[in-house]
Amino acid sequence: MVLEWGLLTVVLVLGLGFIWSWWAGLVAGVIGLAWTTWRWLRMPRIVAAWGWCERGTDLCIRSGPWFRTLRIVPYGRMQAVEINAGPLDRHFSLASVRLVTASPASDAAIPGMPAQEATALRDRITAVAETADAGL
């Protein structure tokens, strides 16, 4: 995530510097650097705020140090489970798990899980969802 902000900063600096003028690029660079550093420093707190647990046949996901969110997704509502792992994730053998429901708004994703745990969770969820009542 820090990497994304850093990359965005670099792109913004180069873009503004070339297209507009050098001082716009400088301002964007300073702001971007400050924001990236801030995110970098906050990262332990952000990561610590992510949490998940299974409650019966529901999946609870908690996130956000400031803007806190607790979402609960029943397995019976699940339409698909996605596991995503980018190159950086794979290097640290991490993966993110995402539950897809019929609602586009229920954005239930757990980033940065250990890969084995992610696949185990997926298998468990699909096994439960097969038996659980869909009730659509």
């Binding site: 409650r55 019966g56 046949t57 529901d58 400031w66 803007f67 806190r68 969110t69 607790l70 979402r71 609960i72 997704v73 029943p74 019976g76 509502r77 429901t101 019929a102 609602s103 586009p104 708004a105 229920s106 239930a108 009542d133 869909a134 009730g135 659509l136």
Partner: protein
């Protein structure tokens, strides 16, 4: 104008002739109206030809192309007018001839393309599927299994309506809607009735909302007994409004069908289709359908002209006229007035013309909505696919006591042009609202979430005024064993109602300021549509317990639904 699927239709391009063509499918009149013979009842061929293969109506290219042609003709006339100097005594004959030739050429090209498109389009409806084949330049063959059909709409744009044609829109639940255009009106209605009769039948209130218990025991018992006898029984006399004209015929139909249909085969057998009264230029209602509610022209006019956007547009026009006159300049105001007029036109066409003669009917496939002044639209709303409703009431409508109901229907929202397909009541009084909600979820009492003094609705804590200083007193939330409700809105008051069994997932959101004030938002996620349920700014402990309870209630409701 009624074209009947007939065996003698020339069809050299057909690859596979249908195996068994029954009698020409004249809309059967006599024997099907009342079915005395139990053996006759489940046989589908009695009401509908088993296989229908035909082309769309021959006038399809004309209906499709007339707007383009009219546009070209208008352009040509404008060109002629421009080139004609007022000093000339005669318009230049040469120019007229050229223009007429151009219009004729375009018409010919269009006619040729339209003819070949029409020649190469066939559709086929049989016992398993609907097949639409296009073999013009791009070949395509759509097959829609009858069991996948969710709803079938009949749309009649103005030109098609004038010459008696209609478009069939088949919704298969995903984002795509298949259309067959154009059919003769009688054919379109007949195929629609057939397809809906074959679509998977779910009774109206299949446990989506459990009965409240003793409070509404009379209606609940009646409904329960009715579903026990005949699961697909479409009409329920309990819910018919007193005074609707359709109630005697409806009770007659149900009484005649209920004993004849065996309980096992009842879900397979298509309901009887009475031939007459099936639909005209003005309306689309069979005699076995009951009117749940219909919006009178007075209400439509009132609701349109009292709406806030209309008033804003009028104010814009007045301002555009008054300010320049007061200041003594006249040029600047014209765009403002034009914008206001455009707004007025849009409001009128969007609500007055679109929802003219809005009628909600109860039919075999669920609820049927018929509306439109120029374009007559007929849609079916299967109640078991309704995920939630929003009752909204703009400020001006509160004075005249009008409500509007929008619903989220599963799979219906993404398709283009389906935004209006979500309105179940464009404007109506409180009693009309009650009957619509009662038709959708019979065991739900609308008073629990409409009455502001209802004990089921809870206000939000006073300390939330730091965040919602202007509309704190308008925010309410509530949940009982049937539904979860949220209400908010200073000007337009919106009440969202979602049955527990339809909740996809839930979340509690809390920002930093909200944490200081110990309040939180609870959001319920639904499939995409007009209904958004978010209980705002409730006490954080309440939000947390409501979230946990909601998931338990939703699980219980889903279990109950699966058990039914």
């Amino acid at each position: 104008m009624t074209q009947i699927p007939s065996p003698e239709e020339p069809d050299p391009a057909a690859t596979q002739p249908p195996p068994a063509r029954p009698e020409p499918g004249l809309p059967a009149t006599g024997p099907q109206r009342s079915q005395p013979d139990p053996a006759q009842a489940p046989r589908p061929a009695a009401t509908e030809p088993a296989v229908t293969e035909q082309r769309p109506h021959w006038a399809t290219p004309i209906v499709r192309g007339w707007i383009v042609l009219a546009g070209v003709a208008a352009w040509a006339i404008k060109q002629l007018m421009d080139s004609w100097q007022p000093g000339d005594s005669l318009p230049p004959v040469r120019a007229i001839l050229v223009m007429v030739a151009a219009v004729l050429a375009i018409a010919l090209i269009q006619a040729a393309i339209g003819y070949f498109q029409w020649r190469t389009t066939t559709f086929r409806i049989d016992e398993e599927e609907v097949r639409v084949d296009h073999r013009f330049i791009q070949h395509s063959s759509d097959r829609i299994a009858l069991t996948k059909i969710q709803s079938v709409d009949v749309v009649q744009p103005l030109a098609a309506r004038l010459i008696g044609l209609a478009r069939l829109q088949i919704d298969v639940g995903g984002s795509s809607t298949r259309t067959i255009e154009y059919l003769s009106r009688a054919d379109a209605y007949r195929f629609r009735d057939f397809l809906i009769g074959r679509a998977p039948q779910v009774p109206c209130d299949a446990g989506v909302i459990p009965d409240a218990g003793e409070s509404r025991s009379a209606a609940g018992d009646g409904a329960a007994a009715g579903t026990a006898v005949a699961p697909t029984r479409p009409t329920r006399p309990n819910d018919v409004l007193p005074g609707t004209t359709g109630s005697p015929s409806s009770t007659g139909t149900t009484d005649s069908t209920a004993p004849t249909a065996p309980p096992g085969a009842a879900s397979k057998a298509p309901p009887p289709f009475p031939g007459p009264g099936s639909g005209s230029v003005w309306q689309d209602r069979r005699i076995d359908e009951t009117v749940i509610t219909s919006v009178s022209s007075r209400q439509i006019v009132l609701g349109t002209f009292v709406s806030l956007s209309f008033i804003w547009c009028l104010l814009l026009i007045l301002a555009g006229l008054a300010i320049p006159i007061a200041l003594g300049i006249e040029v600047i105001s014209i765009p403002v007035v034009l914008a206001g007029l455009a707004g007025v036109f849009q409001v009128i066409s969007g609500s007055l013309i679109k929802y003219w003669r809005f009628t909600l009917l109860r039919t075999t496939g669920g609820l049927k909505v018929v509306h439109g002044m120029t374009t007559l639209t007929t849609r079916t709303v299967p109640p078991h696919r309704v995920q939630g409703i929003t009752i909204s009431q703009p400020l001006a409508w509160r004075l005249v006591g009008l409500f509007r109901i929008d619903v989220t229907v599963l799979g219906g929202a993404e398709a283009p042009g389906r935004m209006e397909a979500t309105t179940l009541l464009p404007m109506g009084s409180a009693s009309q609202l009650r009957s619509v909600v009662g038709a959708l979820w019979p065991s739900l009492d609308p008073a629990t979430f409409l009455d502001p003094a209802s004990p089921a609705l809870h206000p939000i804590p006073r300390r939330a005024r730091w965040l919602r200083w202007f509309d704190r007193q308008t925010i309410f939330w509530g949940a009982d064993e049937q539904v979860i409700v949220s209400r908010h809105g200073l000007f337009t008051r919106r009440t969202a109602v979602v049955p527990h069994s339809r909740v996809q997932s839930a979340a509690v959101h809390q920002g930093p300021v909200q944490r200081l004030l110990r309040v939180a938002d609870l959001a319920i996620q639904l499939p995409s549509g007009p209904v958004h349920l978010r209980c705002r700014q409730l006490d954080s402990a309440d939000a947390r317990s409501l979230l946990i309870e909601e998931m338990d209630r939703a699980r219980r409701a889903r279990r109950r639904l699966a058990a039914d």
